[in-house]
Subunit: 342 residues, 2 copies
Amino acid sequence: MEVEGGVKVGGGEKDKVGGAVQQVNGGLTNDGLSAIMPGWFSEINPMWPGEAHSLKVEKVLFQGKSDFQNVVVFQSSTYGKVLVLDGVIQLTERDECAYQEMITHIPVCSILNPKKVLVIGGGDGGVLREVSRYSSVEQIDICEIDKMVIDVSKEFFPNMAVGYEDPRVTLHVGDGVAFLKNVPEGTYDAIIVDSSDPIGPAKELFEKPFFESVAKALRPGGVVCTQAESIWLHMHIIEDIVSNCRQVFKGSVNYAWTTVPTYPRHEQIYIFSYFEQSTLFGVIGFMLCSTEGPPVDFQHPAYNIDEDENSNKSVGPLKFYNSEIHSAAFCLPSFARRVIDS
Amino acid sequence: MEVEGGVKVGGGEKDKVGGAVQQVNGGLTNDGLSAIMPGWFSEINPMWPGEAHSLKVEKVLFQGKSDFQNVVVFQSSTYGKVLVLDGVIQLTERDECAYQEMITHIPVCSILNPKKVLVIGGGDGGVLREVSRYSSVEQIDICEIDKMVIDVSKEFFPNMAVGYEDPRVTLHVGDGVAFLKNVPEGTYDAIIVDSSDPIGPAKELFEKPFFESVAKALRPGGVVCTQAESIWLHMHIIEDIVSNCRQVFKGSVNYAWTTVPTYPRHEQIYIFSYFEQSTLFGVIGFMLCSTEGPPVDFQHPAYNIDEDENSNKSVGPLKFYNSEIHSAAFCLPSFARRVIDS
């Protein structure tokens, strides 16, 4: 498969440069890779002005520019292949499992017999892979805005893109907010929002109108999980998100967190043609909310996917998630508990 | 107070250079600060050859060379003051609470009425500060090898060094292994080992003879907590440590973990005049063991320090630890559970 609009670097294909693709210069001096150390990829983000995180680049495998962003894939020396969008690391092969499994199974294991699931963002297919484990699920919709991310994942990240192979999956390439507005009321049992950060253009995704669209698209007692920042970095933002969710969702509203070792990898939502880093230095948070209806007790999973013999085994065993770690994710440090539970 | 053998930079004291102190050159081109980006401090460690983590340096406050290591304190732009030993970040003011509280309260809250506690390493005083919360404790011994670390903490990190002000504290400057050998059998209720990593010269601290010294120094049913690596990075090492502990400690043997956002700060033990990084990219692990005697259920704290009106309030409220997060620390991701529990 060849990814459109990009250039696959190496393997004799280095000369095949697409229209929007820039010259690869040691992999480190172009828009896609913000260089501060020769031979290293470093990520400096305005959200964390005094901090950078660097990975050693072994080889740049792909560079392209989609309608939305610069897309880069490089081979790191210790974390496998790494996907970078607009200079920000999105995922590494080594640690993607923690994020994908937690953002998927915390909400979906909190209800019984989910049939229809929507993923917003998640173009790499990792969340699809996790949703495909549920034998009860009949329909998996995904709305991803950037086709290049999907193509790049299929080319370079087969362990995530495998999610697309499930026949229950329907891919919609487009704006997630618009997609959600056209969803008939009460359609989904669960919605997983793989969003970017609530600072900048994506901030609407953490405000009431978006949550209202989500709530409308869910059945009574349906669940949503959305990325919700690190308790270490942006406590005031979390406080606002929790407040918004409490106003919109009339069932349960909970905050959970987990760790991702290097780059708490996380998908983009692409809705606003804007991409931001949400690597949270080892910690990532989730908002778990349910609509009015059958009560949902997020802290105690209703379903144990590990013990279900009917679950889809073709995508391999779970690496991170289990029922204990599901419950533990809701135990907060004291400083966070004081703010969130108040 | 003036720290011996070092130089306090700034405040007109820049010319007062001690014997072993090097010229400060923008704070970034000397042994104490390994430079890869101008104006940034970057940490590259042979244990994690393909990864670096960088903090922006606002101002170097202190540089010195003790008998054991280079000691640097700098002001970072986002994490407050930072302590660096031999080029490796040890702690930041912003996130020290998580490590200090967890390594202290998980073991000490697992027993009732502790009277004698030993800290090995922990020269900054942070663990002392946490131990000082317990009203039942009558004697707190600390054995730290490097006096400069103690002095630097008293000068630049008063919120940690406050631990030394407790009249129950006795400071022993020296080798922790030697100190432990001279402790009468059954002396301590709890021992906290703030150790460096089990790769390199400090590896003995994770082997049977050291654990045997610890077990001997503990009373029956006494507890020890020791730093034990990240489940993400060194699973095979943890497997060996768990195996060694199971052979030595005839009570409970458990593994717990927690997150520290930027540089999972952690003290050095200094025992072998060797210093290594144990920043684990957001995740740090602990071994919790008890000796034969009254049984200890580490996963369910016996004592709730948060609710004890007699606990020492002069060091401020707990920021991270609570009974829920104590229990949650023992819930492991599936990949780690398969190895540790097998």
